[in-house]
Amino acid sequence: MLGDNIIGRKYESDYEVSYEKVKEYVRVLDDQNPHYTDREFVKSLDGGHPYAPPTFAAIYCQPAMNHLYFDPEFSKLVPRLVHGEQEYHFHEPVRAGDKIHTIAVIDNNYTKTNQAGKVHRIFEIKTTSSNQDGQTVCTGLYTLVIRGE
């Protein structure tokens, strides 16, 4: 089956979290939580830099995921790709200035037939992201569905 040969393939990327990018991200979501945007508030709270929202994981994992989407073996499936499920486990919080290294691994590939009889292809991608101190910040599981014709 197309794609079977890419199980176990690994994609890596580095991402430096910037305060400006976090502000841009939360503006799109209209999220006014001061932990993300108010330097002075966070400094008075615990002396650290502003936090990134937990779901900013989607941003720092994206460069590794883009390596997958542009993999010649996988890119032909992308037009029929939808995101089926997503799971994140958060460990050390991510803050502005952190340097995040992400490894994405194609972990599983199977088919699923829906009620209309269409056969969907499912890919499970595991991500592990760690910060500049080697601490794990997030582990993720992306369930990507290639919709049947």
């Binding site: 979501l29 929202p53 883009n66």
Partner: protein
């Protein structure tokens, strides 16, 4: 322990898939190109699932410390289109939270579970 229920709602802006694409670098054409989306069996451009998930996490965290969110797992049930209105409902039993997002124009678009400590 009493279960704690919370509800909030959000209107998805007409251009939100474009803004989210810019912020996230998710430029999959199903989010930004109407013709491409329709040619690939969708009703039109759809919002990134990750954006719906981010809005769900925003609903859960509110203005609290983001470090309290320990995990989140969601299933995307139906596409979200620009200008849809989403209703977020969550029920917390201690640290365990279940959440459902409904579309005012239709059924459920997301269901999931989260842990908040």
């Amino acid at each position: 322990m009493m279960a704690k229920e919370k509800r909030s709602n959000t209107i998805i802006g007409k251009y939100m898939p474009y803004y989210y694409a810019g912020a996230s670098l998710d430029f999959n054409l199903i989010h930004i190109d109407q013709e491409y989306a329709k040619a690939n069996g969708l009703p039109g451009i759809i919002l990134q699932g990750m954006c719906t998930m981010a809005l769900t996490a925003k609903h859960l965290i509110d203005n609290g410390n983001p470090a309290q969110l320990r995990s989140i797992k969601v299933r995307f049930l139906n596409p979200v289109l620009p200008e849809d209105e989403l209703i977020f409902d969550s029920i917390a039993n201690g640290p365990d939270v279940s959440v459902v997002v409904k579309n005012k124009n239709g059924g459920r678009v997301l269901k999931g579970k989260a842990t908040l400590k």
